[in-house]
Symmetry: C2
Subunit: 212 residues, 2 copies
């Protein structure tokens, strides 16, 4: 049997993390409609009223959840970016650039599902956070394209890169969700599809480079 010599601060922090974990699980399994202070508190092993010791109200918990989850996602993506840059071959690197995000999403599917839902739900307290996250990914991806040498001098060029980034991100999410639903068992195959689509966009960018 393990001792539990926890200080008061440690115990409180543990409870807080239990609440956040319970909320994430309920949110993923039942949606925001099923998310109540009572359910979360009970799942975390405390009384409903004690919920308010840790959070001002439910939106406050969701904000905290967004901040923590976003931090984790950003870490994952930075890591993915770094590994993709260090990859060896040209084609290998290109495939990695898509396989790594696919794997990251598959490891933490709840967060993606919750963000996708919140993005389209005007009543969700997480909506602003979801939109901000999506914008950040889009612009990072567009910046990557610019770094590959595809100029973004005028407004039209910049918009092109943003549209490609937006479309590729959406395609990545769709294939990751399909994988989670069991339709695409092999992430390698999904990465191949994304590489093919991406190559199409790069070819188009090259073919339509500035003026005749």
């Amino acid at each position: 049997m393990s001792e539990t010599p926890l200080t008061r601060r440690e115990a409180k922090d543990l409870t807080r993390r239990r609440l956040l974990a319970a909320a994430l699980r309920i949110l993923d399994e039942e949606g925001e409609a099923g998310l109540t202070t009572g359910k979360v508190a009970k799942a975390a092993g405390i009384a409903q009223s004690s919920f308010y010791v840790h959070f001002k109200d439910m939106p406050d918990l969701l904000r905290a959840l967004g901040e923590e989850g976003g931090e984790r996602l950003r870490r994952d993506m930075r890591e993915a970016r770094r590994r993709a840059r260090e990859a060896p071959g040209e084609l290998e690197s290109h495939r990695d650039a898509f396989r790594i995000p696919l794997e990251a999403v598959s490891r933490h599917p709840e967060l993606l599902r919750i963000l996708l839902r919140a993005r389209h739900d005007p009543s969700s307290p997480l909506r602003g956070f979801a939109l901000e996250t999506a914008r950040a990914y889009r612009e990072h991806h567009a910046a990557d394209l610019a770094a590959l040498g595809y100029t973004a001098d005028d407004e039209r060029d910049r918009r092109r890169l943003e549209m490609i980034a937006d479309a590729m991100n959406a395609a990545t999410d769709a294939l990751a969700l399909g994988h989670l639903e069991g339709r695409y068992p092999d992430l390698e195959e999904a990465a191949d599809v994304l590489v093919a689509l991406s190559r199409g966009s790069l070819r188009w960018l090259r073919a339509t480079r500035r003026d005749p």
Copy 2:
């Protein structure tokens, strides 16, 4: 001033349609959390209790909304498919195949937004309908690819077509939403991006045709 010589049946049907329209608007503006029998009834100009004259409960209304909206969406898509087939040039036809859905979505953005939200919300009564709709689009799109001569004999090939269809549909939705948010003012540009991505996938399918 116009007379209103409505039969009882006409009057009831009118109220029913008012309820559905009010629900759609509230759903789009406030999300499912804001959708209550009281709000919908008031917006339709009747008492809260009269809601139950027309629908068994709220899920029942949502089911009806899904059926009607789905019917309209299917009509739009059939039409889009037909027009794309009749289009003249090769490239024109290819661009049309993407511009037309983009335009269809832009005309009825509420429905897409609601479907996207419901798809990821386990608590939504519309979830089953949203998943079914997504599946139908994916398979139609995959069937179109097969009709272009990209064989789908074995499991791997069929999965490839499905993944491409899935990814392209997601990309289309993403660009349509970006257009609605004002980021991509010109749908023609968005269609160009989709054509470029699509060409990438077609080139890949050709390059990897059956055995060496």
